[in-house]
Amino acid sequence: MASLHPNTLTAHELLEKLKNKEISALDIVNFVFEKIKKTDPNLRAYARLDAGLKDGQIMGKEGILKGLPISIKDNICTEGYNTECCSRILDGFKPPYDATVIRKLKEAGATILNIKTNMDEFAFGSSTENSCFGPTRNPWNLDCVPGGSSGGSAAAVAADEAIFALGSDTGGSIRQPASYCGVVGFKPTYGRVSRYGLIAFASSLDQIGPITKDVLDSAVLMNVICGYDPLDSTSVNIKVPDYTKSLVKDIKGLRIGIPKEYFIEGMDPEIKKITDEAVNQLKDLGAVCKPISLAHTEYAVPVYYVLATAEASSNLARFDGVQYGLRAENSAVMIDKRKSETDNKLIRMYKATRGKGFGEEAKRRIILGTFGLSHGYYDAYYLRALKVRTLIKQDFDQIFKEFDCIAAPTTPTPAFKIGERSQDPLSMYLSDIYTISANLAGLPAISIPCGLTKDGLPAGLQILAKPFSEEIIFRAAYTYEQNTPWHLQKPKI
């Protein structure tokens, strides 16, 4: 053990060593920085290597995370430090406030790594290829994507460039990259973690969550970030339990549903095999696994892309070059309502700024969402999608009357090659096919490592439960993890 570098350890292992004075906070930060300097030029898990990386930088108050550095996705606001959603349009944006989760982390003693992790622009994507800083690579195979949109956070944790990290999950953006990178990713119940300071993609779907090396770290981090926040009207005022207490190695009699709609044609045979084995393992551990049906699963992707793009088109309207971020045609503007549109300097500035500031995928989603909300189309798209969303929710409500949780693959395939799907948005959208439903229904869900393909790429097992039943997920995930070797596998980077 002595030969192990601190950056390769989990948070709970480091906290133990800090407590026993076997290691110093400075050591931890320095080892993490050293590793970043060594491997990140190839991996590109961080958005701004050149900015803010200072040796020996320790922040935070006295708290349970004192001494631990944490990596933060670039869409979570950090006071005074660039938070740009990896988009040109937010060029130079330094929020004058911390997101609630950042405040909580600082209060718990964590050191915030201000270089931020890479992501798909505004979390639009499943591969972290849509970043204005260029793509992040998968630590298991540098030719592959790390998944997305929290690909930077997942890759950093997998490559030991981070102890643990925060991501955000709108349609699978924590779980899918966690699965591709062989780490643990948790999307909490909608309303469990404050969204204040998370730059919104789709407000009714977004949740911040942890990306960690094991389940215990996930619970440790959840203990810090969860809870009602008066600044977020959609956060829910329900007491947060100590999640580390739910980490019991016992799932005897736990009723687990296996949705048949998640084992579809086109699914990678190796992933199917790995998932089947994982389910068998759960059975061996005493769980009662039965096939179930979630009848409206096939509509999840279209419903999601109508609702998420609609909300995104609205949330992104504020990026106009007026107050912050990029302003193309940087000239002072005199506004004249009477002048015709082409003549109007203001509209020219809007167009130039948004044209230059947004990447291709952002533009695609803004156009899709604007269309779906337009007069004459609203009923056929947005309203109809809302109704189907309710049906999808009801599917889950029914199942959770008889089952404690649901187990399924996180993704239909392992990590794909960089560039393989970037020209085909539909195939890209389908990589979230198993993760989107949890967001639509507001459910908590985890992805934990459950095997490696022949090519040495990780696969993830997803466990979902009913709202605010994170404890059941932790119990099932912990039991599985502690009885399998997968979380101990590391990429060679």
Binding site: C77, F93, S313, A317, R318, Q323, M334, I347, S374
Partner: protein, 475 residues
């Protein structure tokens, strides 16, 4: 052809909550630009709105006072349009489920009651303000996020006067509720008007124009009158009305087109995902209802009943809440059973003093007791009404009592014959012809002579006594 105007009004009132609708910034008027802003009302990325419950309660209060159905279940929507004074490029407003709907307001037109239906009243956030300077446009976001209640009437008004009465009544009610300053000059009350013409007697609706930029109720009336003329001239010439938005130009006194509406603007409303729907419980509604003070209409009736005030007088007395409170104090302090003199004084000299000093009755800073004392002098005929009016002006200027002013200026009315003899003789002597006219039966001539005596006595003569003495001398 004879046309009938069809008018609907959209009134925005700024609710005077201490803090903004969705953040904790203050709402004070006139401070340094951008000094009352925070990341939330600036629409910074990552920020979220939190509803100010007081704004919701104020809105319910107005809804109830306007006889609306207050919705137990209400939600917010986003209304999208791009403009630099709108930080998020969408406004948090209410589309599908406004807080209140289906209310009404009764106005008095030539002694007849006319009911104006109110379609809806919904809560939204105000935008910032653009300031144009040289060749630059600057934005002040102090106003952005102040709660606004938009009150939309049905197109039930058929003349500029009706629109004026509606606005006056609406403002009066809202002032009674104490939820807005209703100051058009400061923009805490804004009014847009929709107007179309139709052939008198027909039921259809013509093409409407929307009028903006009126900064007083009188301007609303003037703009509507102008627009009626403009539209009827066009129609008479066989031309079509173009649906557009027009700005009232206070210098040229005409409406000028702002932009043509090519079809309806698409605001792409959808439910605000950052704010869950709100339930206003029946208990809460009852609670708010209890908090509503006596409103002008009811108060006017009570004044008529309790104090025997005429209908017309009572309506004027209650229009402004502070005035009505002052009036009631005077009415109760006044010892006589017949309160008519008090009413006359309040809606006569007192109101005209207030108007000329641009304040309300309490703003004149005269106590009800002092006013009643002054009225007492006239009732005892110690001074004439004419003198009393100037005494009032002196009292207001010098803060002295009526007794002090009258004594200092030696204004006590001359009522005894001996004191008036000389004036009367002089008046008759100087106006022989008029005196003769009266003798020959011309009744009016007497009043002229009374006036002459009043002049000579510098207003101190008791006109009634003068009249009697003149008659006695001339008959």
């Amino acid at each position: 052809m004879e046309y009938e105007p069809v008018i609907g009004l959209e009134v925005h009132i700024q609710l005077k909550t201490r803090t903004k609708a969705f953040c904790a910034c203050l709402t004070d008027f006139g401070n340094q630009p951008n000094s009352q802003v925070c990341p939330v009302c600036l629409g910074f990325p990552g920020t979220l709105p939190v509803l100010n419950i007081i704004a919701l309660e104020y809105s319910v209060k107005v809804g109830l006072a306007l006889n609306c159905l207050v919705q137990e279940y209400t939600k917010f929507d986003r209304k999208h349009y791009y403009y630099p004074d709108l930080p998020k490029n969408y406004q948090i407003s209410q589309y599908e489920l406004p807080i209140s709907k289906d209310g009404f307001l009764d106005i008095n037109i030539d002694g007849l009651i006319k009911r104006i239906n109110i379609r809806r009243a919904h809560l939204e956030e105000d935008a910032g303000k653009l300031i144009h300077k040289d060749d630059l446009s600057l934005v002040d976001y102090n106003r952005a996020g102040i709660p606004l209640l938009e009150i939309v009437s049905d197109p039930d008004m058929n003349s500029p006067q009706e629109a004026y009465e509606y606005l006056t009544k609406l403002k009066s009610i809202i002032e009674y509720l104490d939820v807005s300053d209703c100051d058009m000059e400061k923009g805490s009350l804004r009014c847009d008007a929709n107007i179309s013409l139709r052939e008198r007697g027909s039921k259809g609706l013509g093409v409407k124009t929307e009028l903006k930029n009126m900064n007083s109720f009188k301007a609303v009336k003037d703009a509507l009158s102008f627009e009626i003329k403009r539209q009827s001239d066009l129609l008479d010439d066989g031309e079509k009305i173009i649906q557009d938005t027009r700005l009232w130009n206070t210098k040229e006194l005409k409406t000028l087109p702002m932009r043509t509406k090519e079809g309806a603007k698409d605001y792409r409303y959808f439910p605000e995902p950052d704010l869950p729907p709100f339930i206003i419980s029946p208990t809460k509604i009852t609670e708010i209802k209890k908090d509503i003070p006596e409103l002008p209409e009811v108060k006017a009736l009570r004044f008529q009943k309790e104090y025997g005030i005429l209908e017309y007088d009572s309506r004027i007395m209650v229009l402004n809440k502070k005035n009505s409170l002052f009036a009631e104090k005077c009415l109760t302090v006044y010892p006589d059973k017949d309160k008519k003199p008090v009413a006359n004084w309040l809606i006569g000299p007192m109101l005209s003093e207030a108007n000329s000093r641009n304040c309300d009755l309490p703003g004149l800073d005269i106590s009800p007791k002092d006013l009643i004392e002054l009225i007492g002098f006239t009732q005892r005929q110690e001074i004439s009404n004419l003198t009393a009016k100037s005494v009032l002006t002196d009292m207001l200027n010098s803060k002295k009592t009526a007794a002090e002013v009258i004594k200092e200026k030696n204004l006590v009315q001359i009522s005894d014959a001996s004191g008036l003899e000389n004036y009367i003789s002089d008046a008759i002597k100087e106006n022989c012809a008029v005196a003769n006219d009266f003798k020959n039966g011309k009744e009016n001539a007497l009043m002229f002579l009374v006036g002459e005596v009043m002049k000579k006595s510098k207003g101190k003569a008791n006109p009634k006594v003068v009249q009697d003495l003149l008659k006695r001398r001339l008959v």
